[in-house]
Symmetry: C2
Protein backbone atom coordinates (compact mmCIF):
# COMPACT_ATOMS: atom_id res chain seq x y z
CA UNK A 1 0.00 0.00 0.00
CA UNK A 2 1.45 3.35 -1.04
CA UNK A 3 2.00 5.86 1.73
CA UNK A 4 2.85 9.52 1.55
CA UNK A 5 3.73 9.57 5.27
CA UNK A 6 5.51 7.15 7.54
CA UNK A 7 3.61 8.60 10.48
CA UNK A 8 0.68 11.00 10.80
CA UNK A 9 0.16 12.23 14.34
CA UNK A 10 -2.67 13.99 16.13
CA UNK A 11 -1.81 15.90 19.24
CA UNK A 12 -1.71 19.08 21.24
CA UNK A 13 0.20 21.75 19.32
CA UNK A 14 2.37 23.24 22.03
CA UNK A 15 5.38 25.51 22.36
CA UNK A 16 7.58 24.59 25.31
CA UNK A 17 8.95 27.21 27.68
CA UNK A 18 11.86 25.48 29.39
CA UNK A 19 13.72 26.72 32.45
CA UNK A 20 15.97 25.34 35.15
CA UNK A 21 14.22 24.85 38.46
CA UNK A 22 14.88 23.80 42.03
CA UNK A 23 13.03 21.14 44.02
CA UNK A 24 11.97 23.96 46.36
CA UNK A 25 10.31 25.81 43.49
CA UNK A 26 8.32 22.69 42.55
CA UNK A 27 7.14 22.37 46.16
CA UNK A 28 6.26 26.04 46.47
CA UNK A 29 4.20 25.82 43.27
CA UNK A 30 2.58 22.53 44.30
CA UNK A 31 4.00 20.77 41.24
CA UNK A 32 4.49 16.99 41.23
CA UNK A 33 7.90 16.19 39.80
CA UNK A 34 7.83 14.38 36.46
CA UNK A 35 4.12 14.97 35.87
CA UNK A 36 2.07 17.05 33.42
CA UNK A 37 -0.63 19.27 34.89
CA UNK A 38 -3.20 21.21 32.88
CA UNK A 39 -3.46 24.84 33.92
CA UNK A 40 -5.57 27.77 32.75
CA UNK A 41 -4.35 31.03 31.24
CA UNK A 42 -4.35 32.98 34.52
CA UNK A 43 -2.39 30.26 36.28
CA UNK A 44 0.03 30.07 33.35
CA UNK A 45 0.70 33.81 33.52
CA UNK A 46 1.38 33.64 37.25
CA UNK A 47 3.64 30.61 37.02
CA UNK A 48 5.53 32.12 34.07
CA UNK A 49 6.12 35.32 36.03
CA UNK A 50 7.62 33.33 38.90
CA UNK A 51 9.69 30.81 36.94
CA UNK A 52 13.29 31.26 35.81
CA UNK A 53 14.55 32.71 32.51
CA UNK A 54 13.64 30.23 29.79
CA UNK A 55 14.12 29.17 26.24
CA UNK A 56 11.23 28.52 23.88
CA UNK A 57 11.11 25.49 21.61
CA UNK A 58 8.33 23.86 19.64
CA UNK A 59 7.06 20.89 21.58
CA UNK A 60 3.93 18.84 22.14
CA UNK A 61 4.40 15.11 22.40
CA UNK A 62 3.17 14.14 18.93
CA UNK A 63 4.81 17.16 17.29
CA UNK A 64 8.13 16.13 18.83
CA UNK A 65 7.64 12.63 17.48
CA UNK A 66 6.98 13.91 13.96
CA UNK A 67 10.15 16.05 14.16
CA UNK A 68 12.03 12.93 15.23
CA UNK A 69 10.61 10.86 12.37
CA UNK A 70 11.74 13.58 9.96
CA UNK A 71 15.19 13.70 11.54
CA UNK A 72 15.48 9.95 10.91
CA UNK A 73 14.76 10.58 7.23
CA UNK A 74 11.06 9.74 7.38
CA UNK A 75 8.01 11.65 6.28
CA UNK A 76 5.57 12.91 8.87
CA UNK A 77 2.38 14.94 9.18
CA UNK A 78 1.03 16.60 12.28
CA UNK A 79 -2.61 17.48 12.92
CA UNK A 80 -3.29 20.01 15.67
CA UNK A 81 -4.64 23.49 16.40
CA UNK A 82 -2.67 26.71 16.89
CA UNK A 83 -3.36 30.33 17.70
CA UNK A 84 -2.84 33.08 15.15
CA UNK A 85 0.20 34.40 17.01
CA UNK A 86 4.01 34.39 17.02
CA UNK A 87 4.29 31.10 18.90
CA UNK A 88 1.93 29.55 16.36
CA UNK A 89 4.23 30.75 13.57
CA UNK A 90 7.14 29.16 15.44
CA UNK A 91 5.35 25.80 15.69
CA UNK A 92 4.45 25.70 11.99
CA UNK A 93 7.95 26.74 10.98
CA UNK A 94 9.57 24.05 13.07
CA UNK A 95 7.40 21.26 11.64
CA UNK A 96 7.77 22.46 8.05
CA UNK A 97 11.50 23.14 8.36
CA UNK A 98 12.10 19.44 9.00
CA UNK A 99 10.00 18.51 5.99
CA UNK A 100 6.86 17.71 7.96
CA UNK A 101 3.37 18.81 7.11
CA UNK A 102 1.20 20.87 9.45
CA UNK A 103 -2.55 20.43 9.19
CA UNK A 104 -5.45 21.49 11.38
CA UNK A 105 -5.34 25.26 11.22
CA UNK A 106 -4.97 28.43 13.21
CA UNK A 107 -7.52 30.17 15.41
CA UNK A 108 -7.81 33.93 15.75
CA UNK A 109 -8.39 35.19 19.27
CA UNK A 110 -6.82 32.17 20.98
CA UNK A 111 -3.22 31.84 22.14
CA UNK A 112 -1.08 28.95 20.99
CA UNK A 113 -0.79 26.29 23.67
CA UNK A 114 2.31 26.39 25.80
CA UNK A 115 3.92 24.09 28.27
CA UNK A 116 5.89 25.62 31.13
CA UNK A 117 8.63 23.10 31.88
CA UNK A 118 10.68 23.13 35.07
CA UNK A 119 13.89 21.13 34.69
CA UNK A 120 15.54 20.06 37.95
CA UNK A 121 19.25 19.28 38.34
CA UNK A 122 18.61 15.56 37.82
CA UNK A 123 17.31 16.30 34.31
CA UNK A 124 13.70 15.50 35.24
CA UNK A 125 11.03 17.73 33.69
CA UNK A 126 7.81 18.84 35.35
CA UNK A 127 5.24 20.26 32.99
CA UNK A 128 2.36 22.71 33.38
CA UNK A 129 0.37 22.98 30.19
CA UNK A 130 -1.97 25.75 29.14
CA UNK A 131 -3.65 24.20 26.10
CA UNK A 132 -5.04 27.42 24.59
CA UNK A 133 -5.96 26.82 20.97
CA UNK A 134 -4.76 23.19 21.16
CA UNK A 135 -7.83 22.28 23.21
CA UNK A 136 -10.06 23.43 20.38
CA UNK A 137 -9.12 20.74 17.90
CA UNK A 138 -12.31 19.30 16.47
CA UNK A 139 -13.17 16.30 14.28
CA UNK A 140 -13.48 18.72 11.33
CA UNK A 141 -9.74 19.43 11.66
CA UNK A 142 -8.86 15.83 10.85
CA UNK A 143 -8.25 15.67 7.10
CA UNK A 144 -9.10 12.13 5.92
CA UNK A 145 -6.59 12.43 3.06
CA UNK A 146 -3.74 12.67 5.58
CA UNK A 147 -4.88 9.72 7.68
CA UNK A 148 -5.37 7.58 4.60
CA UNK A 149 -1.90 8.46 3.31
CA UNK A 150 -0.02 7.39 6.46
CA UNK A 151 1.51 4.02 7.28
CA UNK A 152 0.93 4.62 10.97
CA UNK A 153 -1.56 6.98 12.61
CA UNK A 154 -0.20 8.07 15.98
CA UNK A 155 -2.41 9.41 18.74
CA UNK A 156 -1.26 10.93 22.01
CA UNK A 157 -3.09 10.04 25.20
CA UNK A 158 -3.15 13.73 26.13
CA UNK A 159 -5.95 14.04 23.59
CA UNK A 160 -8.26 12.22 26.00
CA UNK A 161 -8.46 15.42 28.07
CA UNK A 162 -10.24 17.95 25.81
CA UNK A 163 -13.64 16.46 24.82
CA UNK A 164 -13.61 17.77 21.24
CA UNK A 165 -10.04 16.57 20.73
CA UNK A 166 -11.13 13.15 21.89
CA UNK A 167 -13.81 13.11 19.20
CA UNK A 168 -11.17 14.16 16.64
CA UNK A 169 -9.05 11.29 17.86
CA UNK A 170 -11.94 8.82 17.47
CA UNK A 171 -12.57 10.05 13.94
CA UNK A 172 -8.91 9.57 13.03
CA UNK A 173 -8.92 6.07 14.50
CA UNK A 174 -12.03 5.19 12.51
CA UNK A 175 -10.53 6.50 9.27
CA UNK A 176 -7.27 4.66 9.94
CA UNK A 177 -9.05 1.42 10.63
CA UNK A 178 -11.22 1.78 7.53
CA UNK A 179 -8.20 2.34 5.30
CA UNK A 180 -6.16 -0.45 6.85
CA UNK A 181 -3.61 1.80 8.54
CA UNK A 182 -1.86 0.91 11.77
CA UNK A 183 -2.95 2.78 14.88
CA UNK A 184 -0.42 3.69 17.54
CA UNK A 185 -1.23 5.23 20.90
CA UNK A 186 1.03 6.80 23.52
CA UNK A 187 -0.33 6.82 27.08
CA UNK A 188 1.46 10.19 27.50
CA UNK A 189 1.35 10.57 31.29
CA UNK A 190 0.35 8.54 34.33
CA UNK A 191 -2.14 11.18 35.42
CA UNK A 192 -3.81 11.00 32.01
CA UNK A 193 -4.07 7.25 32.61
CA UNK A 194 -5.62 7.79 36.05
CA UNK A 195 -8.13 10.28 34.62
CA UNK A 196 -9.22 8.14 31.67
CA UNK A 197 -8.37 4.54 32.57
CA UNK A 198 -11.53 2.71 31.47
CA UNK A 199 -11.78 4.68 28.23
CA UNK A 200 -8.11 4.10 27.45
CA UNK A 201 -8.39 0.35 28.14
CA UNK A 202 -11.44 0.06 25.91
CA UNK A 203 -9.77 2.03 23.15
CA UNK A 204 -6.59 -0.06 23.34
CA UNK A 205 -8.46 -3.36 23.15
CA UNK A 206 -10.66 -2.30 20.26
CA UNK A 207 -8.38 -0.09 18.16
CA UNK A 208 -4.70 -0.01 19.04
CA UNK A 209 -2.03 -1.90 17.11
CA UNK A 210 0.98 -0.33 18.80
CA UNK A 211 0.93 0.84 22.39
CA UNK A 212 3.71 3.11 23.68
CA UNK A 213 4.08 3.79 27.40
CA UNK A 214 6.64 4.29 30.10
CA UNK A 215 6.84 2.33 33.32
CA UNK A 216 4.68 4.74 35.35
CA UNK A 217 2.00 4.83 32.71
CA UNK A 218 1.72 1.11 32.04
CA UNK A 219 1.63 0.20 35.74
CA UNK A 220 -1.05 2.88 36.24
CA UNK A 221 -3.07 1.40 33.39
CA UNK A 222 -3.10 -2.04 34.95
CA UNK A 223 -3.22 -0.78 38.54
CA UNK A 224 -0.16 -2.65 39.70
CA UNK A 225 3.22 -1.71 41.17
CA UNK A 226 4.88 -4.54 39.29
CA UNK A 227 6.22 -3.67 35.85
CA UNK A 228 6.42 -7.37 34.83
CA UNK A 229 2.73 -7.88 35.56
CA UNK A 230 1.83 -4.74 33.63
CA UNK A 231 4.00 -5.76 30.68
CA UNK A 232 2.43 -9.22 30.61
CA UNK A 233 -1.04 -7.63 30.71
CA UNK A 234 -0.24 -5.88 27.40
CA UNK A 235 0.14 -9.17 25.60
CA UNK A 236 -2.83 -9.75 23.34
CA UNK A 237 -4.41 -6.39 24.15
CA UNK A 238 -2.30 -4.54 21.55
CA UNK A 239 -0.43 -6.29 18.74
CA UNK A 240 2.75 -4.58 19.88
CA UNK A 241 3.58 -2.80 23.13
CA UNK A 242 6.82 -0.84 23.45
CA UNK A 243 7.45 0.01 27.09
CA UNK A 244 10.23 2.38 28.14
CA UNK A 245 12.03 2.22 31.49
CA UNK A 246 14.48 5.14 31.35
CA UNK A 247 18.06 4.03 31.97
CA UNK A 248 16.85 0.42 32.23
CA UNK A 249 16.04 0.36 28.53
CA UNK A 250 12.79 -0.79 26.98
CA UNK A 251 10.72 -3.92 26.61
CA UNK A 252 8.80 -4.83 23.47
CA UNK A 253 5.91 -7.28 23.81
CA UNK A 254 4.51 -8.73 20.58
CA UNK A 255 2.59 -11.98 20.40
CA UNK A 256 4.73 -14.57 22.17
CA UNK A 257 7.85 -12.46 21.96
CA UNK A 258 9.38 -10.40 24.75
CA UNK A 259 12.33 -8.34 23.54
CA UNK A 260 14.61 -6.55 25.99
CA UNK A 261 16.34 -3.52 24.50
CA UNK A 262 19.14 -1.70 26.27
CA UNK A 263 19.10 2.05 26.72
CA UNK A 264 21.49 3.92 24.46
CA UNK A 265 23.98 5.69 26.73
CA UNK A 266 23.41 9.46 26.49
CA UNK A 267 26.35 11.85 26.31
CA UNK A 268 24.94 13.35 29.50
CA UNK A 269 21.50 13.89 31.03
CA UNK A 270 20.48 17.54 30.80
CA UNK A 271 16.72 17.56 30.24
CA UNK A 272 14.58 14.46 29.78
CA UNK A 273 11.83 16.44 28.01
CA UNK A 274 10.91 14.58 24.84
CA UNK A 275 12.65 11.29 25.69
CA UNK A 276 9.46 9.24 25.29
CA UNK A 277 8.45 11.20 22.20
CA UNK A 278 11.77 10.48 20.52
CA UNK A 279 11.64 6.82 21.50
CA UNK A 280 8.25 6.74 19.77
CA UNK A 281 9.78 8.46 16.72
CA UNK A 282 12.50 5.84 16.38
CA UNK A 283 10.21 2.91 17.06
CA UNK A 284 7.43 4.01 14.69
CA UNK A 285 9.84 5.08 11.94
CA UNK A 286 11.48 1.64 12.16
CA UNK A 287 8.11 -0.09 11.92
CA UNK A 288 7.00 2.04 8.98
CA UNK A 289 10.24 1.08 7.24
CA UNK A 290 9.58 -2.60 7.85
CA UNK A 291 12.45 -3.07 10.29
CA UNK A 292 12.56 -5.89 12.84
CA UNK A 293 11.16 -5.03 16.28
CA UNK A 294 14.59 -5.10 17.94
CA UNK A 295 15.91 -2.59 15.42
CA UNK A 296 12.81 -0.44 16.02
CA UNK A 297 13.52 -0.44 19.75
CA UNK A 298 17.17 0.40 19.21
CA UNK A 299 16.24 3.30 16.92
CA UNK A 300 13.92 4.54 19.67
CA UNK A 301 16.66 4.26 22.28
CA UNK A 302 19.13 6.11 20.05
CA UNK A 303 16.71 8.97 19.40
CA UNK A 304 15.85 9.27 23.11
CA UNK A 305 19.54 9.41 24.07
CA UNK A 306 20.16 12.35 21.71
CA UNK A 307 17.31 14.47 23.06
CA UNK A 308 18.03 14.08 26.78
CA UNK A 309 21.58 15.38 26.34
CA UNK A 310 20.37 18.94 25.66
CA UNK A 311 17.62 21.43 26.51
CA UNK A 312 14.62 21.12 24.22
CA UNK A 313 12.37 18.26 23.15
CA UNK A 314 13.44 17.78 19.53
CA UNK A 315 16.65 16.49 17.94
CA UNK A 316 19.40 19.06 17.40
CA UNK A 317 21.42 16.88 15.06
CA UNK A 318 20.42 14.48 12.29
CA UNK A 319 19.14 11.26 13.85
CA UNK A 320 19.61 9.64 10.45
CA UNK A 321 23.35 10.33 10.68
CA UNK A 322 23.48 9.07 14.28
CA UNK A 323 21.66 5.89 13.27
CA UNK A 324 24.08 5.31 10.41
CA UNK A 325 27.05 5.83 12.73
CA UNK A 326 25.53 3.35 15.20
CA UNK A 327 25.12 0.76 12.45
CA UNK A 328 21.33 1.02 12.54
Amino acid sequence: MNSLYDVAAIGNAIVDVIAPSSEAFLSAEGLIKGSMTLIDEAHAEGLYARMAAAIEASGGSAGNTIAGVASLGGRGAFIGKLGQDQLGDVFVHDIEAVGGRFSGGRLDGHATGRCLIQVTDDGQRTMSTCLGAAALLTPEDVDPAIIEAAQIVYLEGYQFDPPEARRAFAKAAGLARASGRLIALSLSDSFVVHRHRPALLGFIESEVDILLANEDEITALFETDDFEIAAEACRGRAKIAALTRGAKGSVVIAGDQTLLIEAHPPEKVVDTTGAGDQYAAGFLFGLAQGRALTACGRLGALAAAEVIAHYGPRPQVSLKDLATQAGL
Copy 2:
Protein backbone atom coordinates in the same frame (compact mmCIF):
# COMPACT_ATOMS: atom_id res chain seq x y z
CA MET B 1 29.11 56.47 45.60
CA ASN B 2 26.01 54.36 46.17
CA SER B 3 24.82 52.33 43.21
CA LEU B 4 21.61 50.43 42.72
CA TYR B 5 23.04 48.61 39.67
CA ASP B 6 26.43 47.15 38.90
CA VAL B 7 25.72 47.64 35.20
CA ALA B 8 23.02 49.47 33.25
CA ALA B 9 23.04 48.61 29.56
CA ILE B 10 21.45 50.16 26.50
CA GLY B 11 20.98 47.97 23.50
CA ASN B 12 18.81 46.34 20.92
CA ALA B 13 16.12 44.26 22.61
CA ILE B 14 16.18 41.09 20.55
CA VAL B 15 14.87 37.55 20.72
CA ASP B 16 17.23 35.05 19.09
CA VAL B 17 15.96 32.34 16.75
CA ILE B 18 18.77 29.78 16.70
CA ALA B 19 19.12 26.89 14.28
CA PRO B 20 21.81 24.56 13.01
CA SER B 21 23.05 25.45 9.55
CA SER B 22 25.41 24.23 6.85
CA GLU B 23 28.11 26.24 5.12
CA ALA B 24 26.18 25.69 1.89
CA PHE B 25 23.11 27.37 3.39
CA LEU B 26 25.18 30.42 4.36
CA SER B 27 26.50 30.65 0.79
CA ALA B 28 23.08 30.20 -0.76
CA GLU B 29 21.70 32.99 1.44
CA GLY B 30 24.71 35.25 0.82
CA LEU B 31 25.54 35.31 4.52
CA ILE B 32 29.06 36.07 5.72
CA LYS B 33 30.03 33.60 8.40
CA GLY B 34 30.49 35.11 11.84
CA SER B 35 28.95 38.46 10.92
CA MET B 36 25.76 40.30 11.86
CA THR B 37 23.67 41.67 9.00
CA LEU B 38 20.65 43.94 9.37
CA ILE B 39 17.64 42.75 7.39
CA ASP B 40 14.12 44.07 6.93
CA GLU B 41 10.89 42.32 7.86
CA ALA B 42 10.27 40.83 4.39
CA HIS B 43 13.78 39.44 4.23
CA ALA B 44 13.44 38.07 7.75
CA GLU B 45 10.24 36.23 6.85
CA GLY B 46 11.86 34.68 3.79
CA LEU B 47 15.02 33.64 5.60
CA TYR B 48 13.02 32.23 8.51
CA ALA B 49 10.92 30.14 6.11
CA ARG B 50 14.07 28.66 4.59
CA MET B 51 16.13 28.08 7.76
CA ALA B 52 16.08 24.96 9.92
CA ALA B 53 13.88 24.23 12.93
CA ALA B 54 14.96 26.56 15.71
CA ILE B 55 14.78 27.40 19.35
CA GLU B 56 13.92 30.86 20.62
CA ALA B 57 15.86 32.54 23.41
CA SER B 58 16.05 36.10 24.64
CA GLY B 59 19.17 37.68 23.23
CA GLY B 60 20.55 41.04 22.17
CA SER B 61 24.13 41.72 23.08
CA ALA B 62 23.55 44.07 26.00
CA GLY B 63 20.58 42.04 27.26
CA ASN B 64 22.76 38.94 27.31
CA THR B 65 25.37 40.84 29.28
CA ILE B 66 22.82 41.97 31.87
CA ALA B 67 21.63 38.36 32.24
CA GLY B 68 25.27 37.33 32.77
CA VAL B 69 25.83 40.05 35.38
CA ALA B 70 22.74 38.81 37.22
CA SER B 71 23.93 35.19 37.00
CA LEU B 72 27.18 36.29 38.64
CA GLY B 73 25.17 37.72 41.52
CA GLY B 74 25.20 41.31 40.31
CA ARG B 75 22.41 43.79 39.73
CA GLY B 76 21.64 44.93 36.21
CA ALA B 77 19.24 47.11 34.27
CA PHE B 78 18.51 46.99 30.57
CA ILE B 79 17.16 49.86 28.49
CA GLY B 80 15.67 48.96 25.12
CA LYS B 81 12.47 48.90 23.06
CA LEU B 82 10.13 45.95 22.48
CA GLY B 83 6.97 45.23 20.55
CA GLN B 84 3.68 44.55 22.30
CA ASP B 85 3.78 40.87 21.36
CA GLN B 86 4.62 37.39 22.68
CA LEU B 87 8.33 37.70 21.96
CA GLY B 88 8.34 41.01 23.82
CA ASP B 89 6.76 39.25 26.82
CA VAL B 90 9.49 36.62 26.58
CA PHE B 91 12.25 39.25 26.61
CA VAL B 92 10.85 41.08 29.64
CA HIS B 93 10.29 37.83 31.52
CA ASP B 94 13.83 36.65 30.92
CA ILE B 95 15.40 39.88 32.17
CA GLU B 96 13.13 40.13 35.20
CA ALA B 97 13.43 36.43 36.07
CA VAL B 98 17.14 36.88 36.67
CA GLY B 99 16.49 39.89 38.88
CA GLY B 100 17.24 42.47 36.20
CA ARG B 101 15.19 45.54 35.46
CA PHE B 102 13.66 46.23 32.05
CA SER B 103 13.17 49.86 31.08
CA GLY B 104 12.35 51.59 27.82
CA GLY B 105 8.89 50.35 27.02
CA ARG B 106 6.77 48.48 24.52
CA LEU B 107 5.42 49.65 21.18
CA ASP B 108 2.06 48.63 19.77
CA GLY B 109 2.04 47.83 16.08
CA HIS B 110 5.72 46.92 15.89
CA ALA B 111 7.19 43.45 16.21
CA THR B 112 9.87 42.70 18.76
CA GLY B 113 13.30 42.57 17.15
CA ARG B 114 14.62 39.15 16.30
CA CYS B 115 17.93 37.76 15.27
CA LEU B 116 17.97 34.73 12.99
CA ILE B 117 21.12 32.84 13.95
CA GLN B 118 22.65 30.12 11.80
CA VAL B 119 25.03 27.92 13.80
CA THR B 120 27.50 25.89 11.74
CA ASP B 121 29.14 22.65 12.89
CA ASP B 122 32.21 24.55 14.11
CA GLY B 123 30.03 26.43 16.62
CA GLN B 124 30.30 29.74 14.72
CA ARG B 125 27.16 31.85 14.58
CA THR B 126 26.04 34.01 11.67
CA MET B 127 23.37 36.54 12.51
CA SER B 128 20.65 38.27 10.49
CA THR B 129 18.86 40.84 12.59
CA CYS B 130 15.45 42.37 11.98
CA LEU B 131 15.43 45.19 14.51
CA GLY B 132 11.68 45.86 14.54
CA ALA B 133 10.75 47.84 17.63
CA ALA B 134 14.39 47.84 18.84
CA ALA B 135 15.28 50.38 16.15
CA LEU B 136 12.76 52.80 17.60
CA LEU B 137 14.54 53.45 20.88
CA THR B 138 14.66 57.20 21.41
CA PRO B 139 16.44 59.50 23.86
CA GLU B 140 13.14 59.80 25.76
CA ASP B 141 13.40 56.09 26.59
CA VAL B 142 16.59 56.64 28.57
CA ASP B 143 15.56 57.11 32.20
CA PRO B 144 18.18 59.33 33.90
CA ALA B 145 17.44 57.70 37.26
CA ILE B 146 18.72 54.36 35.95
CA ILE B 147 21.90 55.78 34.43
CA GLU B 148 22.67 57.71 37.59
CA ALA B 149 22.16 54.63 39.74
CA ALA B 150 24.63 52.41 37.85
CA GLN B 151 28.33 51.86 38.54
CA ILE B 152 28.95 51.21 34.86
CA VAL B 153 26.86 52.31 31.89
CA TYR B 154 27.32 49.83 29.06
CA LEU B 155 26.59 50.68 25.46
CA GLU B 156 26.60 48.29 22.52
CA GLY B 157 28.14 49.38 19.24
CA TYR B 158 25.10 48.02 17.42
CA GLN B 159 23.32 51.16 18.64
CA PHE B 160 25.33 53.19 16.13
CA ASP B 161 23.08 51.82 13.36
CA PRO B 162 19.61 53.24 14.10
CA PRO B 163 19.89 57.07 14.18
CA GLU B 164 17.47 57.59 17.06
CA ALA B 165 19.14 54.85 19.10
CA ARG B 166 22.43 56.63 18.57
CA ARG B 167 20.94 59.78 20.05
CA ALA B 168 19.66 57.72 23.00
CA PHE B 169 23.15 56.38 23.40
CA ALA B 170 24.64 59.89 23.38
CA LYS B 171 22.15 61.01 26.00
CA ALA B 172 23.05 58.07 28.23
CA ALA B 173 26.75 58.79 27.83
CA GLY B 174 26.19 62.43 28.75
CA LEU B 175 24.19 61.52 31.85
CA ALA B 176 26.78 58.95 32.89
CA ARG B 177 29.61 61.42 32.48
CA ALA B 178 27.71 64.11 34.41
CA SER B 179 27.08 61.76 37.31
CA GLY B 180 30.61 60.38 37.37
CA ARG B 181 29.69 56.88 36.17
CA LEU B 182 32.02 54.71 34.13
CA ILE B 183 31.16 54.29 30.46
CA ALA B 184 31.81 50.98 28.74
CA LEU B 185 31.41 50.35 25.01
CA SER B 186 31.37 47.11 23.06
CA LEU B 187 32.32 47.40 19.38
CA SER B 188 29.78 44.59 18.74
CA ASP B 189 30.73 43.55 15.20
CA SER B 190 33.45 44.30 12.64
CA PHE B 191 30.87 45.47 10.09
CA VAL B 192 29.50 47.94 12.62
CA VAL B 193 33.07 49.20 12.98
CA HIS B 194 33.45 49.55 9.19
CA ARG B 195 30.13 51.40 8.94
CA HIS B 196 30.82 53.86 11.77
CA ARG B 197 34.59 53.98 12.20
CA PRO B 198 35.21 57.73 12.55
CA ALA B 199 32.22 58.20 14.85
CA LEU B 200 33.27 55.26 17.01
CA LEU B 201 36.85 56.49 17.28
CA GLY B 202 35.67 59.96 18.28
CA PHE B 203 33.29 58.56 20.85
CA ILE B 204 35.94 56.26 22.33
CA GLU B 205 38.47 59.05 22.72
CA SER B 206 36.02 61.48 24.25
CA GLU B 207 33.76 59.28 26.36
CA VAL B 208 34.78 55.67 26.85
CA ASP B 209 36.42 54.35 30.02
CA ILE B 210 36.21 50.65 29.16
CA LEU B 211 36.39 49.37 25.60
CA LEU B 212 35.38 45.78 24.82
CA ALA B 213 36.15 44.26 21.45
CA ASN B 214 37.18 41.03 19.80
CA GLU B 215 40.14 40.62 17.48
CA ASP B 216 38.19 41.28 14.26
CA GLU B 217 36.61 44.41 15.66
CA ILE B 218 39.70 46.01 17.14
CA THR B 219 41.80 45.39 14.01
CA ALA B 220 38.95 46.86 11.92
CA LEU B 221 38.87 49.91 14.16
CA PHE B 222 42.58 50.64 13.66
CA GLU B 223 42.64 49.39 10.06
CA THR B 224 45.41 46.87 10.59
CA ASP B 225 45.79 43.11 10.21
CA ASP B 226 48.07 42.99 13.22
CA PHE B 227 46.38 42.40 16.56
CA GLU B 228 49.42 43.65 18.52
CA ILE B 229 49.35 46.99 16.70
CA ALA B 230 45.61 47.34 17.28
CA ALA B 231 45.99 46.46 20.96
CA GLU B 232 48.77 49.01 21.38
CA ALA B 233 46.61 51.62 19.66
CA CYS B 234 44.03 51.23 22.44
CA ARG B 235 46.48 52.41 25.07
CA GLY B 236 45.60 55.89 26.19
CA ARG B 237 42.46 56.07 24.04
CA ALA B 238 40.33 54.25 26.62
CA LYS B 239 41.32 53.83 30.27
CA ILE B 240 40.85 50.09 29.93
CA ALA B 241 40.55 47.92 26.83
CA ALA B 242 39.56 44.25 27.16
CA LEU B 243 40.20 42.45 23.89
CA THR B 244 39.01 38.89 23.31
CA ARG B 245 40.71 36.40 20.98
CA GLY B 246 38.54 33.30 21.22
CA ALA B 247 40.52 30.21 22.21
CA LYS B 248 43.65 32.37 22.50
CA GLY B 249 42.21 34.13 25.55
CA SER B 250 42.03 37.87 26.10
CA VAL B 251 44.32 40.84 26.51
CA VAL B 252 43.63 43.71 28.89
CA ILE B 253 45.36 47.04 28.22
CA ALA B 254 45.27 49.63 31.01
CA GLY B 255 47.76 52.47 31.33
CA ASP B 256 51.19 50.83 31.18
CA GLN B 257 49.84 47.39 31.92
CA THR B 258 49.28 44.59 29.41
CA LEU B 259 47.61 41.58 31.00
CA LEU B 260 47.33 38.28 29.14
CA ILE B 261 44.41 36.14 30.30
CA GLU B 262 43.99 32.55 29.22
CA ALA B 263 40.72 31.29 27.80
CA HIS B 264 38.73 29.12 30.19
CA PRO B 265 38.44 25.67 28.56
CA PRO B 266 34.80 25.07 27.58
CA GLU B 267 33.20 21.67 28.16
CA LYS B 268 32.63 21.64 24.39
CA VAL B 269 31.95 24.22 21.68
CA VAL B 270 28.33 24.05 20.55
CA ASP B 271 27.31 27.62 19.73
CA THR B 272 29.51 30.68 20.20
CA THR B 273 26.50 33.03 20.30
CA GLY B 274 26.88 35.29 23.31
CA ALA B 275 30.54 34.53 24.03
CA GLY B 276 31.59 38.18 23.80
CA ASP B 277 28.50 39.31 25.71
CA GLN B 278 29.28 36.95 28.57
CA TYR B 279 32.93 37.96 28.60
CA ALA B 280 31.66 41.53 28.99
CA ALA B 281 29.36 40.41 31.81
CA GLY B 282 32.21 38.85 33.78
CA PHE B 283 34.62 41.68 33.12
CA LEU B 284 32.20 44.49 33.98
CA PHE B 285 30.78 42.69 37.02
CA GLY B 286 34.34 42.23 38.30
CA LEU B 287 35.11 45.91 37.76
CA ALA B 288 31.90 47.03 39.46
CA GLN B 289 32.86 44.84 42.44
CA GLY B 290 36.29 46.45 42.60
CA ARG B 291 38.18 43.33 41.56
CA ALA B 292 41.68 43.44 40.03
CA LEU B 293 41.80 43.54 36.24
CA THR B 294 43.18 39.99 35.97
CA ALA B 295 40.30 38.66 38.04
CA CYS B 296 37.87 40.64 35.85
CA GLY B 297 39.32 39.01 32.75
CA ARG B 298 39.16 35.57 34.29
CA LEU B 299 35.51 36.10 35.26
CA GLY B 300 34.85 37.09 31.65
CA ALA B 301 36.61 33.99 30.35
CA LEU B 302 34.68 31.75 32.74
CA ALA B 303 31.32 33.23 31.72
CA ALA B 304 32.16 32.92 28.00
CA ALA B 305 33.16 29.26 28.41
CA GLU B 306 29.79 28.40 29.97
CA VAL B 307 27.73 29.98 27.21
CA ILE B 308 29.53 28.45 24.22
CA ALA B 309 28.96 24.92 25.52
CA HIS B 310 25.23 25.09 24.76
CA TYR B 311 22.67 26.58 22.37
CA GLY B 312 21.50 30.02 23.43
CA PRO B 313 23.25 33.25 24.37
CA ARG B 314 22.64 33.39 28.12
CA PRO B 315 23.94 31.30 31.03
CA GLN B 316 22.00 28.13 31.81
CA VAL B 317 23.60 27.59 35.20
CA SER B 318 24.60 29.99 37.97
CA LEU B 319 27.80 31.77 36.95
CA LYS B 320 28.19 32.74 40.60
CA ASP B 321 28.45 29.04 41.53
CA LEU B 322 30.87 28.39 38.67
CA ALA B 323 33.03 31.32 39.76
CA THR B 324 33.07 30.05 43.35
CA GLN B 325 34.06 26.55 42.17
CA ALA B 326 36.86 28.07 40.07
CA GLY B 327 38.16 30.00 43.08
CA LEU B 328 37.15 33.35 41.60
